[in-house]
Symmetry: D2
Subunit: 363 residues, 4 copies
């Protein structure tokens, strides 16, 4: 249990890393949205390892299939089943090391929770691979948000300790796709490449920070006191394996500011209420205020490293050493950028529907 997310735009995840497929059911998508496999494929492809030096060599084709919910390439109002059948599976390494808890991974917690019946191959449902399903749902959500002109984009703002310089939206839009790190700052991207190369040689891994931005935000998304925009989006982002922190606007740095600095003064601009600064990250009282929504997710370094690590065999209950075999990313940050966008889009879609901004049947 716990595999569904969202109240009116509800996604239900299924599938495993080394099972038959990864997939997602999108329930609540209004009828009338043009939607084809290639719309979704385009997004899923952004998550592919590609030629990035940071990424795994697992070369899934990741072919999107629509199993239900559309007719004549348009959504019908029925649940949309989106599926990617797994192809390039090699479970040998996992079978051998089945009872060795890979540090940083869910092997031990999953074994305990599911009484040893969990599908451990490739991490099962705990694999980053399930985020391919998140991206399929995100593709639908983004198209829906497009009907109310909301744009969601994310980019790498930090990787392996290299911080990107803050950039304007136009530059973020223009630069992010141009480098393998999805970083809007080309200079930082170059530095990231160096760090990744170095760490790769050392059989180690790196983390980073992804910033997500939503533009043309309507005022009023969020349903306090519990279903706040921040709370629900944070929950969605923490479903991405490796996310260990989420902050909005000035976030943790707000803790060091004074009220007079951190409060965003209001003003009138083009007949609309706006704020002069955006320390709030576009959210006041758990509700969007119309300014860009700004969220950052901290991504821990990839847990799988070829370096030798201390661990335990939890079947025999004895200490052991482990080098994680298999194919892994030195840093998953670049590939996670589209996943962050997807979880943001899914959350915003749900709130837009709760605020009745997206009609139940589109024209």
């Amino acid at each position: 249990m716990g595999n569904s997310l969202g109240k009116l735009f509800t996604i239900t995840s299924f599938g495993e890393s080394h099972g038959r497929c990864v997939g997602i059911i999108v329930d609540g998508c209004p009828a009338g949205l043009p939607l084809t496999e290639s719309d979704i494929q385009r997004e899923v492809d952004k998550r592919k390892p590609g030629t990035s030096i940071a990424a795994t060599k697992r070369a899934e084709e990741d072919k999107v299939e629509v199993f239900s919910g559309t007719f004549n390439r348009v959504t019908t109002g029925a649940p949309i089943c989106l599926l990617i059948q797994n192809k390039d599976i090699d479970s040998t390494a996992y079978e051998k090391a089945r009872f060795l808890a890979r540090p940083g991974h869910a092997d031990y917690t999953a074994f305990s929770k599911y009484g040893g019946f969990n599908d451990f191959r490739g991490g099962g449902i705990f694999s980053g691979r399930i985020t391919a399903a998140f991206v399929m749902a995100g593709a639908v959500a983004k198209k829906l948000l497009g009907t109310i002109d909301v744009e969601v984009l994310a980019h790498t703002v930090e990787l392996g300790g290299v911080k990107a310089e803050p950039k304007e939206i136009d530059q973020i839009r223009a630069n992010t796709a141009k480098n393998q790190f999805r970083c809007a700052d080309p200079k930082a991207a170059a530095e990231m490449a160096e760090v990744v190369e170095k760490v790769k040689r050392e059989d180690d891994s790196l983390g980073g920070i992804i910033e997500g931005i939503a533009l043309n935000m309507p005022v009023g998304l969020g349903e306090p006191v519990f279903d706040t925009l921040e709370g629900d989006m944070a929950k969605a982002l923490f479903a991405i394996p490796a996310v260990k922190g989420v902050e909005f606007g000035s976030g943790f740095s707000a803790a060091r500011k004074r009220g007079s600095e951190n409060n965003d003064p209001f003003t009138i601009k083009n007949g609309e209420v706006v704020t002069v600064t955006n320390n709030a990250g576009g959210v006041l009282g758990g509700i969007s205020n119309g300014m860009p929504l700004v969220v950052r997710a901290a991504i821990k370094p990839t847990s799988s490293i070829a370096k030798s690590q201390q661990t335990v065999d939890f079947k025999d209950m004895k200490n052991a050493a482990l080098k994680v075999a298999g194919r892994h990313d030195v840093c998953i940050v670049p590939r996670a950028v589209v996943v962050v966008e997807s979880m943001m889009a899914v959350t915003l879609c749900d709130f837009a529907m709760r605020a009745e901004l997206i009609p139940r049947a589109l024209k």
Copy 2:
């Protein structure tokens, strides 16, 4: 909508800052838990302004009343209605400045979302005052967690830029209640006092960081892929007004570490699987691993400041200046400590019930 939280241990918030009451319904508490008003009162009192120099002068008695769900001082399995009737209400300031958006507050977003019908007095449901209701629910949750020996505690680790030195659990337990900042580091607490005094004189406000810890954690709490322990707890914490960031374990600093540093090696200790370090903050794959759960919440500086601020009158749609009158905390961090504990406890309780660790009827 959006005022309920939790799947098996479900809390439903109601009431307003300047309305008749603040209250909460706790549904899903097993029958058989001894529970009296004084059990709850004790927790609520920790949230009181008290004599802290950081706190408001609003002097609510905050008397807890149990309206349903117990019989002969024991829970019955029926929904528990907990209520505090508001007494010390002065809405004058709010009535006058009704259409002036206080920077950092939800005045404008609430006005927009609810078509101007929201109860603006004291911020209505957006007031920190509703967290008194959270604490009542937390009191029940803590008692329940006590039946499986889980202990939840929180403390101030940063306030106004003053960082506390890391302390052992024993010191945290011992020191936190001893100073008005609920800080385990007495030296830092003294510095915090100075900063608060200074900022108070300047009509400004401060933020900080609260760390929450859960001890004696069972392995297996959390229901991935979406209902992760981190995700649901983050959502619960973001319901606390002023929280702008949440991180677990090494959190944002993980982004700067290497895998070999951030991965927690496993080992056997007293016949149990433990980790040598706890960068994971007790959560692997969204599931508790038995190590202490460690979470930090960033609290922005109090939005209400007496200093003059630029804002707008959103009725007349014109710029305006505003000094926020009323009674406010220079820094809400110390009073929010028990609220963080409460939201943690509520989340853990829900997961403990989902994991069948707390029986539906206690003996």
Copy 3:
């Protein structure tokens, strides 16, 4: 757990028969609905025993109090807490017979489920008294439905074996309030009075059937495949103690018809698609078709009877005889009429909101 109902218009019940109160939280009511205590009192009064010969002599004042969610007599968008404080409580009979399972009642199942901790006095949450809370929620729902011109009304169509003749809507509206049985057929009402008198003298009780009708139904309410209009309304109606059957349109009699009889032919009337007959009871495929919604609920005879019954003492696990003391209705059907209306209204409101027919903030 299990005390909340509805997705967007969510009600949460609390309180007990002989506890401090019965109450309900209504979450999801749009801002901007004029709502006063007297609006709700009017509905609650319809449930009062009054002077009906069928009814109990328990003489609760049942004074409605609004504890939250309105400001200046208008809803704010915040959760509405509605409460009736219990006054006329006499638990003596219950204390004495605590471990004697009253046949037809939940004494034994509640004792088993809640480990003996349930508040048994007056049946606790299993008392018909909690339906006063349902009616408070129904009062809000009816007002909301009024904004889209949907009218909900119910009447007694059978009581103690006496069947009412089918009547036109006008007569149902006109006649129902005129007799103590809330029956649209005055002749049947007279017969019902005779049967009730007779059965009362025999220390026995009676059941009946209530028919609910919703007029001016929009097309499109219901969210198949699981959240059908019939399914959700049936669930809501089964929450009324004593309901043992629910049917829509031709209902159980449909089982004996042929398709050519039971199918409702479509035709055009005043430029709208209507059906010539209404065997479907206004629902096709789980979705309203614009015709009047027609539902019937079977009410079992009151379980509490003064006649001696065979039972067990479930503490000592031995057989026993029992005459149920206390104050009870010979037949609860007349008082349940407004409860049926309320649960219908609550269900319709939720679906109307899911279909975006009621805006989140009214003008």
Copy 4:
């Protein structure tokens, strides 16, 4: 939206009659349950038209595929995706009559609700075909209930006006599979055959009543006040197209009984509390009392009939005549028997998990 059912044992339906597949996600099945495709196939085969004279000639192979959630033929605790790919599809008749509302069907309501984008072929999600997915979920639920010895069975008690004589459980078990009507009374089954033959010749259709029984029921299933055993089971049953009424125990006939007749006297039997009669159908106060659960569902006559019917073309908004072409059941009652069992099993499973009777991980 509205395609998920259940709180801890949650099923999510997807797929269409003439789309690529029908399928279901089962989330919340504990890890450790042996489960193979043939376990599920066996149940799905019971729903097949077979050689019954009452059934359609559509000859789907209905081959069950498990897409996720098992490993080495045992459940893993992850969501189980069960899928049947549609094979024998002929949509010609539907394309031609697209805008003609078939009386008794959801064509018009679906068209209105989904803005004309619904997949009308074969009725889309409103087809009885989706119940094949329900049966797949039911197969899992039955296996789970088996671990606590709960047995669910259903049989035809009325068809085309022919009533079966009441039979003992042993006879129901023995006789139901022996005839094409799934009727425990062989004599009635023979009469049903005659009626069906006759009505078939007349291009008409028939309805009936299915009784479901659950044996070895534990005491305590059901979560009042809203999530009653009756309410949730009724909701699940109303998701079966054609169900128009649901009753428990004496049901509608209770309305005509006196309390002294309808109340079930308690007694002690083999050291357990039981009732002498079972007018309650095993449910008191919305909670199971340990007696057999007895529920009846009224099935309306098949809406699709070859006889000419009056209807409208809702595109051109004009009256029309219609003979429903395609392949249809004269009476779906026999095939719906296993569907009723499935929805009962799904409901009971959810409550058994809520009552912690089925552990989250089986041994």
